[in-house]
């Protein structure tokens, strides 16, 4: 436990860390690969639209003692689609099966008749329209569009336009992965799925905004120093909020995983499985994209800004001179102290340093970081109060 706590502390101080930003190309590649797979899956297999969207056939049986569950099994086996069975007031059954036209439904009708032990013509077959009409779908799309525009405007004001764009890309990334998984797994798309997707939309943005908030704070006054480039600051802020990100993701995913694996395991396919799959994939993708996609994207965009370019140049120049000084053997006393402190953490530190592209920063960094932190901290709180 103490190990975990101290890792948190060292992540916070920037002593250890994974260089998300420098290795962004790998993660971009992985994401693009997954997204392409998802899109291909969507294009090739298509989505299996449930009865609420596509309509289907509805069978009305005479009064029967067969249980709804048994009828559902029968209908599912005969038709190959998910069936919704409701018992009506007079003990008869209403069985809805998706994507069946009246002519195709003969087989199901016969199977049901056999199960219920009644003549086939006693089971009434009818075409049923979607309960989730075009109107609901169109309005949902419109709502989604308006929301995206508003959220981009909001993020552009609250943060900046680069973050707004990155958040939007991350969002689209999460949604397309989730939809792709649906296409590949072949689960039926129900209203529950759509609602799951919308939940992800909310969660993905929420998560991204929490990470960006940390980034905004660390990047405050960045042009007034020449120690770190924007990318490095972004990386440190990511590592600083990493513990929070992991904890939040675990806490959000545990109940959903329970729904998916335990609930689904007991029952087989069902509405519960549909929703929890969408949520599980989407939440995982949302947590992943905030860290591996959104923030590196912001860093990428930001580094193109002239101010940031100038900063990066200054940082490089300074490091070159610092390295020259270090080689001249001018390490002062406090650096020696730090080196002694850090010696205990050697293995971890090495890992962290390997990730750094400038070797010099590995030596100089730890000494100066606490100071930079104090400075950054003192200023905003002074303003606030």
């Amino acid at each position: 436990m103490s190990k975990l706590g101290s890792i948190g502390a060292r992540l916070y101080r920037g002593e250890v860390g994974y260089d998300f930003v420098a290795k962004r190309k790998i993660w971009y590649g992985i994401s693009i690969l997954i997204t392409i797979t998802a899109i291909v899956g969507l294009a090739v297999r298509g989505l299996n639209m449930g009865i609420d969207f596509s309509g289907g056939a509805v069978f009305t049986t005479p009064t029967t003692s067969v249980s709804a569950h048994a009828a559902e099994e029968t209908a599912k086996e005969a038709s190959g689609h998910t069936a919704i069975v409701q018992k009506l007031g007079n003990k008869s059954l209403r069985i809805q099966v998706s994507e069946l036209s009246t002519s195709d439904s003969r087989q199901t009708q016969e199977a049901l008749a056999k199960k219920l032990d009644v003549p086939t013509d006693k089971i009434n077959t009818d075409i049923i329209g979607p309960s989730w009409g075009d109107q609901i779908a169109n309005k949902a799309w419109m709502g989604l569009g308006i929301f995206m525009v508003l959220v981009v405007i909001y993020l552009a004001i609250a943060f900046e336009w680069r973050m707004a764009i990155a958040a939007l890309i991350a969002l689209v990334h999460d949604l397309s992965i989730t939809v792709g998984v649906y296409a590949l797994v072949g689960f039926e798309v129900t209203p529950g799925t759509v609602i799951g997707l919308l939940t992800i939309l909310g969660y993905s943005l929420y998560d991204t905004v929490v990470v960006f908030d940390g980034l905004k704070e660390s990047a405050r006054g960045i042009t007034k120093q020449s120690r770190y480039t924007y990318s490095e600051i972004a990386n440190r802020s990511l590592n600083g909020t990493l513990v929070r990100s992991i904890n939040t993701t675990v806490v959000a995913l545990l109940p959903v995983a329970a729904l998916l694996f335990i609930g689904g395991g007991f029952l087989g396919a069902g509405m519960l499985n549909d929703i929890s799959l969408a949520l599980f994939v989407g939440l995982a993708a949302g947590a992943y994209s905030s860290i591996f996609i959104a923030t590196p994207l912001v860093a990428d965009l930001k580094e193109r800004d002239p101010q940031m370019k100038a900063l990066a140049k200054r940082v490089r120049a300074k490091r070159a001179s610092a390295a020259a000084k270090a080689e001249a053997g001018g390490a002062d006393g406090s650096a020696a102290d730090d080196a002694a402190d850090d010696a205990a953490d050697e293995p971890d530190d090495d890992e962290g340093d390997d990730g750094d592209d400038t070797a010099a920063a590995g030596v100089v960094g730890p000494r100066r970081q606490p100071a930079a932190r104090n400075r950054g901290r003192g200023r905003p709180s002074g303003k606030r109060r």
């Binding site: 706590g5 916070y12 018992k87 049923i128 309960s131 109107q135 919308l198 929070r244 335990i262």
Partner: protein
């Protein structure tokens, strides 16, 4: 508890945590108490979890429109019915077509099925027609004498009494409250409707001045009735009715009017159907909804499609009770101003216009001047419920077809109980895992997190339960799953705050300042991110319909509760706990042990490096 006392002792920035905690605890107790008092201790469940009532509607073939029943019209009807039954968008009702000419409407258990039936069955074809002639009808002669319609003081009373009277007569006895069949403005001493109707009709046929007494009474009655409607006219002397002159059909119309039976349910239904199916440009005869009069109405002057929206309001100023206010589109307002301008110059009764809904005259106010501004109101013996129902139905427009409810049956849950049970079981297991994780990682702090989650859960549950009877909120399986995900979002707020506190401790602060310094920054993060969630919820709720709207409502509710819980519960609780020795001293099990958090003892040695930095910068 000692907490409040401590709260008072600490001044300034720390606030009064004890009071805030007491506040939210009182709110919780009030909500839970309210829940038990209301008698609803479980949230209303959607069709998928609890079943409900299913109606089958059959589209009726209308004379003169053989091809009206087609896919387009059926789909439009589904859309309109969906919005009608979904009202606020949280009832989770389902509407779908079945076969070529049926529509199935599924309504979750606990919805007022009778009301829903009325809502789905009403066509809501609205039209404003000028009144050409009107004849009062009375089923049973009221005993009391006619009050003077000219006395201003009598007007209000007259109106009210008349309303009561109309209620007693009304065939649609759903308004059946406050019935007081006294002080009526209906003609006195007239033995039957028939005589009266005939008297006027005869007079019109003859196109001569009729017996003043009979007509006078007729007018009187109508006028009294009018007073009941709009309460502003009432000073005109009885005048003979005017013949709808120049019309070749006048005689035929008079015959129709005479034949019109507004005294029995069947007669009214027949009259309603006939008038409803008439073309807008035809002159029609129709009954008043309450059966108090029958009228000859001119062509439709303003159509229902010109109405932009409708709302039910309580009119306390003029004592009309519940009325329905209509807003016209810009085209509609112009038409309405024109027609009212024209009508104002006419003699009574031709200065009246009738608001005709599905072939029945709902009200027939007279106009004294052109009404601009694009608003009109329908008044007349509404209860709150009936006014709201009518406003709801009118807001969403008329159905392109008329429907009969052919069956009404109960249906069981679409998903079956095992899905809900499995879901709840899995949710409980998931929650247990979350608890184990939090305790393992945050130790003592996990207590704060769990208490906050519990508060959040109690608030969510009670509010959802109370919203069931209040606005028809129904919880379906997706909403239950959404609530489970909300555990993550709510827990995130605590985690953000806890990590802030730990960061402050890592900077070498002791717990109390850490709790206070960490808060402003955690607060901002929580607010910014919750705002995005809330924005999603608000936009989706406003723009969408149906189940998406229901989802948006749940999301918005849980987000708001998250903010409430963090601000009013977690933060004050943290402030109080920070004063406890167990936490303040960094007990190994408090989750705030500086050693475990990796705070390095030689902090002082790090400090000297600070002055070096400004030189470099």
């Amino acid at each position: 508890m000692a907490a409040p006392k401590k709260g008072r002792r600490s001044p300034g920035g720390q606030g009064r945590p004890g009071r805030v905690l007491a506040l939210i605890l009182i709110a919780m107790v009030a909500l839970v108490g309210g829940m038990f008092a209301s008698g609803h201790t479980t949230p209303r469940l959607g069709i998928d979890l609890a079943g409900g009532t299913s109606f089958t509607l059959e589209a009726k073939n209308q004379p003169g429109k053989p091809n009206a029943i087609n896919t387009t019209n059926m789909n439009t009807a589904v859309g309109i019915i969906n919005r009608r039954v979904n009202g606020l968008g949280v009832t989770e009702a389902e509407v779908q077509t079945q076969g070529a000419n049926h529509i199935i409407v599924n309504i979750p258990k606990g919805t007022n099925a009778k009301q829903a039936r009325q809502q789905v069955g009403t066509t809501a074809q609205l039209g404003f027609r000028p009144v050409l002639n009107t004849t009062p009808v009375s089923k049973s002669p009221p005993p009391s004498p006619t009050p003077s319609p000219s006395s201003p003081s009598a007007k209000g009373k007259d109106g009210k009494d008349n309303k009561g009277d109309k209620d007693s007569k009304g065939d649609k006895a759903k308004d059946g409250d406050k019935v007081s069949p006294s002080g009526s403005a209906t003609p006195t001493g007239t033995p039957t409707t028939k005589t009266q109707g005939r008297a006027v009709t005869d007079a019109l046929k003859a196109d001569s001045t009729p017996d003043p007494e009979v007509t006078g009474k007729g007018q009187d009655g109508k006028k009294g009735d009018k007073d009941g409607k709009d309460g502003k006219k009432g000073d005109q002397a009885p005048k003979p009715s005017q013949t709808p002159s120049g019309s070749p059909d006048a005689a035929a119309l008079q015959k129709q009017l005479a034949e019109l039976d507004c005294t029995t349910k069947e007669g009214m239904a027949k009259a309603r159907e006939k008038a409803a199916n008439a073309a807008p440009k035809d002159t029609v005869v129709a009954c008043k909804k309450d059966g108090s009069a029958k009228e000859i109405l001119g062509p439709v002057a303003v159509e229902g499609t010109d109405v932009n929206g409708a709302s039910a309001v309580f009119d306390s100023q003029r004592g009309q009770g519940w009325i329905v206010q209509l807003k016209f589109t810009s085209g509609g307002s112009k038409k309405f101003a024109d027609v009212t301008g024209k009508l104002a110059s006419q003699q009574p009764p031709q200065n009246q216009f009738a608001i005709v809904l599905d072939g029945e005259v709902v009200s027939d106010p007279s106009v004294s001047q052109s009404i601009a501004g694009g608003e009109a109101e329908i008044s007349g013996s509404f209860t709150q419920q009936s006014a709201q129902d009518l406003a709801n139905v009118l807001s969403f427009g008329a159905l392109p077809l008329s429907f009969d409810v052919v069956t009404e049956t109960t249906v069981t849950a679409a998903l079956g109980g095992e899905q809900l049970h499995a879901g709840l079981l899995a949710g409980a297991i998931g929650l247990a895992l979350v608890i184990i994780y939090l305790v393992a990682y945050y130790r003592g702090l996990a207590l704060v997190a769990l208490a906050s989650l519990a508060v959040s859960a109690i608030l969510t549950y009670t509010i959802m339960t109370l919203l069931g009877p209040a606005i028809g909120f129904a919880l379906n399986l997706p909403a239950v799953c959404g609530a489970i995900v909300a555990i993550g979002i709510t827990a995130d707020s605590f985690i953000v705050y806890f990590e802030r506190i730990r960061d402050e401790i890592r900077d070498g602060r002791s717990l109390r300042p850490a709790v206070e310094r960490g808060w402003p920054r955690a607060r901002r993060t929580i607010l910014v991110s919750d705002f995005v969630s809330f924005l999603a919820a608000a936009v989706l709720f406003i723009v969408t319909v149906g189940k998406v709207q229901g989802f948006a409502f749940t999301l918005g509710l849980t987000t708001l509760l998250d903010v409430v819980v963090v601000f009013l519960f977690t933060k004050p609780l943290m402030t109080i706990l920070a004063r406890r020795r167990f936490f303040a001293s960094g007990h190994p099990w408090s989750g705030l042990d500086p050693k475990r958090l990796g705070v390095k003892p030689p902090l002082r040695r790090r400090r000297p490096s600070a002055p070096v930095d400004p030189k470099e910068a």
